[in-house]
């Protein structure tokens, strides 16, 4: 993977990820996650659901951003424009796959932060989102567009999204539960092949004209419980 894409995958990227736990804070508060074994189960579930969905959205956004604007495809048919409609559709697809309002807000907050980073990295970076995308663009959509701006292909966008789907809660688990960081990274290394597989599945689905739509009701409930909790250290 190109180093510029590694920047986008790095948890030190100043795009607000450090303040999100991906549901882990509620999972820890309710005792669902309390050690490495329960963390592993949580991360596997999150990767197979939210991870697959965000990987698909990131791959689709990357593919959309890479379409040449206004270039006529072979055969002389009508030009395929990189239309605002495309971004609007992706925004709606992300909303449709994010039933929890708290999760939608968290995704858009992280999208705004990543957009700020992308504009800093590539001054010409634009995302023609409709004004209706209140609260900013969804995070995986900005990620996909940023990977395209960095010269990356959809499967790389999917990989970074799937990787973030497990590293964000893993980092929160280290901070909230005091889990041994070496143990947590052993868990992450054990999941690495699954991360790659989820990314490949998401990218293949997008290439075939689809978009993964796995759901995780427990994560939706955790997000809403978190939003209502009095004491919380993380934004989500």
């Amino acid at each position: 993977m190109d180093a510029v894409l590694l920047l986008l995958a790095d948890s030190r990227l100043p795009a607000g990820g450090h303040a999100h736990s991906g549901g882990l804070e509620t999972a820890a508060a309710t005792g669902v996650v309390h050690d490495l074994a329960t963390l592993t189960a949580f991360l596997r579930g999150r990767l197979a659901t939210a991870g697959l969905v965000t990987a698909g959205l990131a791959a689709a956004a990357c593919a959309h951003a890479r379409e040449p604007a206004g270039n006529a495809p072979p055969g002389g048919a009508a030009p395929r424009a990189r239309t605002p409609d495309g971004w609007e559709r992706l925004d709606a697809e992300a909303d449709a796959r994010t039933p929890s309002p708290a999760q939608r807000r968290a995704s858009r907050a992280q999208g705004r932060a990543l957009l700020r980073v992308a504009r800093g990295l590539w001054p010409g970076f634009v995302l023609d989102l409709p004004a209706g995308a209140a609260g900013g663009p969804h995070h995986p959509i900005v990620l996909g567009a940023a990977v395209a701006a960095a010269g990356g292909v959809p499967v790389r966008a999917a990989q970074i999204a799937a990787y973030g789907a497990v590293t964000v809660p893993a980092s929160a688990a280290i901070r909230l539960l005091g889990l041994d960081p070496l143990g947590v990274y052993r868990v992450l290394a054990g999941l690495a092949a699954r991360v790659d597989a989820v990314a490949a599945e998401a990218a293949a689905s997008v290439r075939a004209g689809g978009l993964p739509a796995a759901s995780a009701p427990a994560l939706d409930v955790f997000a809403e419980l978190h939003d209502r909790a009095g004491t919380r250290l993380f934004e989500s």
Partner: protein
Amino acid sequence: MGLGPHDGREPREPRPRRALRLGIGGPVGSGKTALVAALCRLLREEAALAVVTNDIYTTEDADFLRRNAVLDEDRIAAVRTGCCPHTAIRDDISANLDAVETLEDRHGPLDLVIVESGGDNLTATFSRGLADRQIFVLDVSGGDKVPRKGGPGVTTADLLVVNKTDLAPLVGADLTVMARDAERVRAGLPVAFTSLRERPDAPEVVSWVRAVLAAHADA
């Protein structure tokens, strides 16, 4: 390391005039929120204000400010920092920038946005991308050796406030030692000794902020 003014590059469209961003940092319990409340009470008539708080845990600081009605409720925003208050003001300032810009969009034009950090250690400082100027608040109860220990907050903040001077005799802290050490490690940057309990209007700090605001308005 000087903490000069923001370089003026805006991630969004340039604004006609953006508010001065003042960071207020320091350890837990040193009096940051009491100082923010004092600044709001004393400056709100002459300047358009908003506040961002970075609570470690809850929205306690924001709630304190709202309860004390120092500002309208919607001029106070709380940011959560995922257990890492220094990260949110230094390494990854995106959530704070977002909160500052949202307040400016909603209530602008503003003259001053105060960003209060969560209580942290002596190494915590604000990124220059977030704060134009910063105040570091200590209190005497940590002992008179604290200024001598230095750390970026103590040595580089544009103003060092040593609060709770009324407690000095009770905790055996020698204020002259603190003043001498602070002057030495800060190379002449200003220091204000306050007792927000005895003088809730913090006159020295308020005058300093007024001067900074005036300089910002002229720039």
